[in-house]
């Protein structure tokens, strides 16, 4: 039974690749049958057609449909105008969900960049072998799923009743210092539990930030550092006035990438609290509206809000790409 499933998976891969090959071969032949003036004109479109179809079916069409659905009721049958939006924005629950998401956006990307840059710069001074080891250790959580990371950290934050030995690392240390056990993920004073959830994402993303920034730091031309040193600059001045300006592009790239993944953060919150104890975020609320409340209208409205938040980033991304092409 299991082997059969695995076999089907391998066959699917082979059939999929074979079908793609056949498709391109046919499209290519079709183009070659045309008069040569037409052949050159139509061939590029045949080459990009299958890829573009995938993007249209799975991103462009659904994006439009989602906007339409956000103005319809929970089963997408009748138009309700802005009711989904007004109802969401009027509910205090959703407003705190938005606020929590904003906290994530304000804290996590900045923290990820700072920590990643710190590790990159510090590890750069180690011997090559130790540098590689340190970086691999920090980088490895990136391979672990958010569900896995959240499960691991749920164990770190676990609490046992007072008097019993604590099996969660954080409570063991806390009670070791004389405190009484705390159910950490239920503590929403000053959003402590949201911060603890953010730690999980930091743990998983700092490696990504470190690798990109480390490559950038190593790419800073040695003679600019040399010149600064000859001019008598301190290491601190060199870092902030020579290194940082030269790696600004990478810093922005990391910041944007992490910001996007933070905006749609779902798995960590779903596993650790499912949005309870005032930790809800937009991604989790979307899933609850879709899967628990079966409210397509509200779910679509949340996605539209998310898309609106992404538009400035998209605009920046396109402009940045154009500028880079013009330079290269």
């Amino acid at each position: 039974m299991l082997l059969e499933k695995f076999g089907v998976a391998v066959l699917t891969v082979l059939a999929g690749i074979g079908a793609a090959l056949l498709l391109f071969w046919l499209l290519n032949k079709l183009a070659e049958l045309m008069p040569s003036k037409w052949e050159e004109r139509i061939k590029p479109f045949f080459y990009i057609l299958p890829a573009y179809l995938a993007v249209i079916i799975y991103l462009i069409y659904p994006a439009i449909q989602t906007v339409v659905d956000s103005f319809r009721d929970s089963t997408s049958t009748t138009f309700v105008g802005f009711e989904n939006y007004s109802r969401l924005l009027a509910s205090s629950g959703f407003r705190s969900t938005l606020f929590n998401t904003l906290l994530w956006i304000l804290i996590v990307p900045a923290a990820t960049v700072i920590l990643g840059l710190a590790v990159a710069v510090l590890a750069d001074r180690l011997k090559p072998q130790s540098e590689k080891l340190a970086k691999t250790i920090i980088f490895m959580p990136m391979a672990i799923s958010m569900v896995g990371a959240a499960t691991i950290w749920r164990f770190v934050y676990a609490a046992m009743p007072e008097g019993q030995p604590q099996i969660g690392l954080l409570n063991a240390m806390w009670t070791g210092l004389g405190g009484s056990p705390v159910a950490w993920i239920q503590q929403n004073t000053l959003h402590l539990n949201s911060l603890l959830l953010m730690v999980v994402l930091l743990w998983s993303q700092v490696g990504f930030s470190m690798v990109l920034l480390s490559a950038a730091v190593k790419g800073v031309p040695g003679d600019t550092l040399e010149a600064a040193r000859i001019d008598g600059a301190t290491e601190r001045q060199i870092f902030f006035q020579v290194v940082v300006p030269q790696i600004k592009g990478t810093i922005i790239t990391v910041f944007i990438t992490v910001t996007i993944s933070v905006m749609k953060i779902f798995d960590i919150v779903y596993v650790l609290t499912n949005g309870n104890f005032n930790t809800n975020v937009v991604g989790n609320e979307f899933f609850n509206q879709l899967n628990t409340n079966f409210n397509n209208g509200a779910a679509s409205a949340i996605v539209v809000l998310l898309m609106l938040a992404v538009v400035p980033i998209m605009w920046y991304q396109v402009r940045h790409f154009k500028a880079e092409e013009a330079n290269g």
């Binding site: 890829a51 993007v55 001074r125 180690l126 490895m140 690392l169 996007i260 879709l290 996605v303 396109v318």
Partner: protein, 301 residues
């Protein structure tokens, strides 16, 4: 760190510029900070690993770290948690399901994207720039947009709950990234080689599969690793299109183990480790390509 300023001798300067652009060496404070960070980063994973071999009683009554200094606890280590997670809690089945979803989602889009990337790099046509900028813009669109409409379409087609529903979706979501990575890589290939092939009378189709495709293998590998890890570790898309049950992947399987806490952390951690082992192996073995893909500007929405 010494900040004393000396005029470096010509030899020193040459050495600094050509060999070691960063003469600052790690002091003890740097080493200590890095060591602490590494310990902090490793500890949760080590705790997971150790707990996954402990018995229910042990894991409920003492911290996993006590194992480190009580050698007597080592003899009670057991593989039972793994047997139970695989057979009793569906994780074995879920592992196969994860392969059934991740393999097609990883390998099928590569060729399709490579053709498109070839056209965007080496062919002139009307609207090329606009079409490619659309792909760049699509990079940051969250895949949330697809879930509600596709759920309806899949429902009408009777596809909900199937593997194909999930891997087809991942192909759609990964396509813009694939085209982007491959096109950026192909743009760095020497134009002269491609032009001389053209002069020798090679068609686009031949140039593509005899020259450009083999030369692009590093970029293909980068994308494949990215996509594999991304699909394997995905929870949301799987939850929406497959949901819990016979066809669930490991990420969903793990969320059930979380629900069975009455059985203790030992089983959860065994399941957790099972779900991580494949991506960790892929990652460690192919880290080089992964890093290259990231530095090639992999931004995914």
């Amino acid at each position: 760190m010494s900040t004393a300023v000396q005029a470096p001798s010509a030899r020193q300067r040459k050495k600094a510029a050509s060999f070691d652009p960063n003469p600052a060496k790690a002091g003890w404070l740097t080493k200590l900070v890095l060591l602490l960070l590494c310990v902090l980063w490793l500890t949760p994973t080590i705790g997971t690993f150790i707990t996954s071999f402990r018995t229910l009683d042990d894991s409920n009554t003492s911290g996993w770290w006590t194992v480190l200094w009580t050698p007597s606890a080592w003899s009670s280590m057991t593989l039972d948690n793994y047997t139970q997670a695989i057979n009793g809690s569906n994780m074995g089945n879920a592992l196969i399901n994860s392969f059934a979803i991740a393999l097609p989602a990883t390998f099928i889009p590569i060729l399709v994207a490579a053709f498109a990337a070839y056209a965007f790099t080496f062919m002139e046509f009307k609207g090329r720039d606009v079409l490619f900028l659309t792909i760049v813009a699509m990079l940051v669109v969250p895949n949330y947009v697809a879930l509600v409409p596709m759920l309806k379409i899949y429902g009408a087609l009777g596809m909900n709950g199937t593997f194909a529903a999930v891997w087809l979706a991942h192909i759609g979501f990964g396509m813009s990234l694939a085209i982007y990575i491959l096109r950026n890589y192909m743009a760095t290939l020497p134009k002269t080689v491609i032009e001389s092939a053209k002069i020798d009378g090679a068609s686009h189709f031949q140039t593509f599969y005899k020259l450009v495709l083999p030369m692009s293998v590093p970029a293909l590998a980068s994308f494949a690793i990215f996509q594999f890890l991304w699909v394997w570790n995905d929870l949301l898309v799987a939850l929406v299109f497959v949901g819990p049950g016979e066809n669930e992947p490991v990420t969903i399987g793990l969320t059930h183990l979380r629900g069975q806490l009455g059985q203790g952390w030992n089983l959860t951690m065994a399941g957790g480790f099972l779900s991580m082992i494949v991506p960790i192996i892929v990652f460690l073995a192919l880290q080089r390509y992964f890093v290259r893909g990231m530095t090639a500007g992999a931004v995914k929405g």
